[in-house]
Symmetry: C2
Subunit: 168 residues, 2 copies
C-alpha cells in the first residue's frame, strides 16, 4: 500500500521544514533534507523543484546553503549535464559542526568581554566565568558526539551502506 508511504513521506517532509525553520534555516531547506532522508535520490534541481512544488530559484539557493553546511553533496551522472544532490555521508554530524562554530563565536564574545572589563567588578567577572565554563562544557560535549559519530563512520557499518565510501 503505497498511499500510506506517501502520506508518511509528505508528513515528514513538512515536519522537517518546521524543525529546520526552528533552527533558523529556511523551511525549504528542511523540505529538501526531509525528502532526501525519505528517498535516497540523488535528485536533480528540477526534480526537487517539481517534487516540492517550489521554484527552481529557491531550490538553487537552498541546495547551495545545504551544500555550504555540508549536509548535502552535489554529484554528477555520466552523460547528464544536470547537477544531482543527495545527503552527505554523515549529514547530522556535519550540521552539528556548524552549531559548534556558532557557539565558539558566542564564547569569543564572552571572553573578549572578560578581557575588556575592569578588574574591580568581581561579581560580573564571576558570572562571565560561569557562562564561559558553560559554553566550554557544551562545546566539549558536542565535540564528543561528533567524534563518536565520526569514529563509527570509520568502519563502514551497517547503518550506512551504499555510497558510503568516497573512493568506491
Amino acid at each position: 500500500m503505497t498511499y500510506k508511504a506517501d502520506k508518511a513521506i509528505a508528513e515528514f517532509v513538512e515536519q522537517m521544514g518546521l524543525i529546520l525553520q526552528a533552527e533558523g534555516l529556511p523551511r525549504i531547506a528542511g523540505h529538501i533534507m526531509g525528502l532526501m532522508i525519505m528517498q535516497e535520490g540523488p535528485f536533480s534541481l528540477s526534480q526537487l523543484a517539481e517534487r516540492l512544488s517550489v521554484s527552481r530559484a529557491s531550490i538553487s539557493t537552498n541546495t547551495r546553503l545545504l551544500e555550504d553546511l555540508e549536509v548535502i553533496v552535489r554529484t554528477a551522472k555520466p552523460g547528464d549535464r544536470q547537477d544531482y544532490f543527495k545527503l552527505s555521508p554523515q549529514p547530522y554530524a556535519r550540521l552539528l559542526r556548524g552549531v559548534v562554530r556558532r557557539m565558539r563565536r558566542a564564547r569569543d564574545v564572552v571572553e573578549s568581554t572578560q578581557d575588556s572589563l575592569p578588574e574591580g567588578m568581581t561579581d560580573t567577572h564571576e558570572r562571565l566565568k560561569e557562562l564561559d565554563a558553560f559554553y566550554e562544557a557544551l562545546i566539549e560535549s558536542f565535540m564528543d558526539v561528533v567524534d563518536t559519530w565520526d569514529a563509527e563512520r570509520e568502519r563502514p557499518a551497517r547503518q550506512a551502506r551504499q555510497s558510503e565510501r568516497p573512493s568506491a
Copy 2:
C-alpha cells in the same frame, strides 16, 4: 575608570541580543539577559525599559518569556509594588533544558514517522534510525551537561555566592 566598564557593558548587552536572536529568541530578551549578567540587579520593569531604551510593553512580554524559560525570576521588594527581575540561579542549565525539550519534540517526529512507514522501505528506515540515534546521543549529551551543572550547584560553590540558596 568607569567609561571602560560602560563600554564593555554596552557592547556585551548588544552582542547578547544578537546571540539570543541567532537562537531564535527576540533580540530584546538577549539584551535583558546580557544586562543582568553584567549587573546583578534586580531590576524593575521600568528600570529595564529605561536602561535599554525600549517600551515597557516589550519589557513586559520579554520578561515573561524569559520567566517561562526559567532564565530569570520575578521577585518583590518589601514595601514596593513593582515587580523586580534577576537571573535565576542556574540560568544557562535551565535554558538548555528548553533546548532539550525542543529536540525531544523533533525526535518524536522521527519516531512517529518510523511507526507509520511501511516495513518494506528498508533504506529509509535505516536513515531514520540513524537520525533517531543521533538525536538520542545529542539529548543524552545535553542532559549530562545539565546534570553536571546541577550537581555542582548542590554544594554552594564559590562561583555563585549571593542569593544562591533559595531558602536563605
